[in-house]
Symmetry: C2
DNA sequence: CCAATATACAACCGAATGGTTGTAGATTGT
DNA sequence: ACAATCTACAACCATTCGGTTGTATATTGG
């Protein structure tokens, strides 16, 4: 896998490795929400939530759109699909092992 | 999602958020490898690699089997599938939004 | 039995993470 | 114009992370 893909993978998985961020992602996948709206849902400071949103944005899992003084966040389902496809690639490696074993059995 | 699932998700995504660990996972998905064998592949101490293996093991992405003085590590494809299904659930949330929009359009 | 091998784990260290408070810049409504 | 609102970001702090070295414990081969 290319270096750039590894960096993307680092960012993706790191962003997903926090339950507050996963929860934020669920909300913004269901529909647009301003940062203030999101922050109201959690027992932590606005700044903390804003940082979580920024992590998700840097990872490309979420995009923001300005609307007046609000910043409306939206989940990016395409990015989520690309994380899923990384896992599929891991599965393919495993299938390769099985295929190898099958080949050995058939050869035997 | 239940508390226990969130903990599993934390462990899964955290384990996957490091490229050395993802690489180890690829190797042990392809076939069994001892910790020493794995350690030989990376430019870091044996102890560092052993810790990475331990993180993957705690997350349930890898299992070990003793063989003499060696510990043979093997990737668990079922665990990987369950990470993928967590992403599928996120996708479902997004589909719910689309379904909602479609409904609105049809109503309108 | 004993030396070599394979693993595990503790203690430590610098950097990153997840949280805080405080400050400052846009934008809006009156 | 100006007070209120929404957001961004810096500085700080405790904890976790990813690495190190060193030590201890099994297991094996000769």
């Amino acid at each position: 896998m290319a270096e750039q893909d590894e960096e993307r993978a680092d960012a993706f998985f790191h962003a997903l490795a926090d339950r507050t961020r996963r929860d934020i992602l669920r909300r913004v996948l269901a529909g647009e929400h301003s940062v203030t709206e999101l922050a109201a849902s959690y027992d932590m400071s606005f700044a903390a939530v804003q940082k979580h949103v920024a992590v998700l944005e840097r990872a490309g899992l979420l995009t923001k759109r300005r609307s007046g003084r609000e910043q409306l966040a939206s989940g990016d389902v395409v990015a989520i699909r690309s994380v899923a496809s990384m896992l599929d690639q891991l599965e393919d490696v495993w299938r390769g092992r099985i295929a190898g074993i099958d080949a050995l059995i058939k050869e035997g």
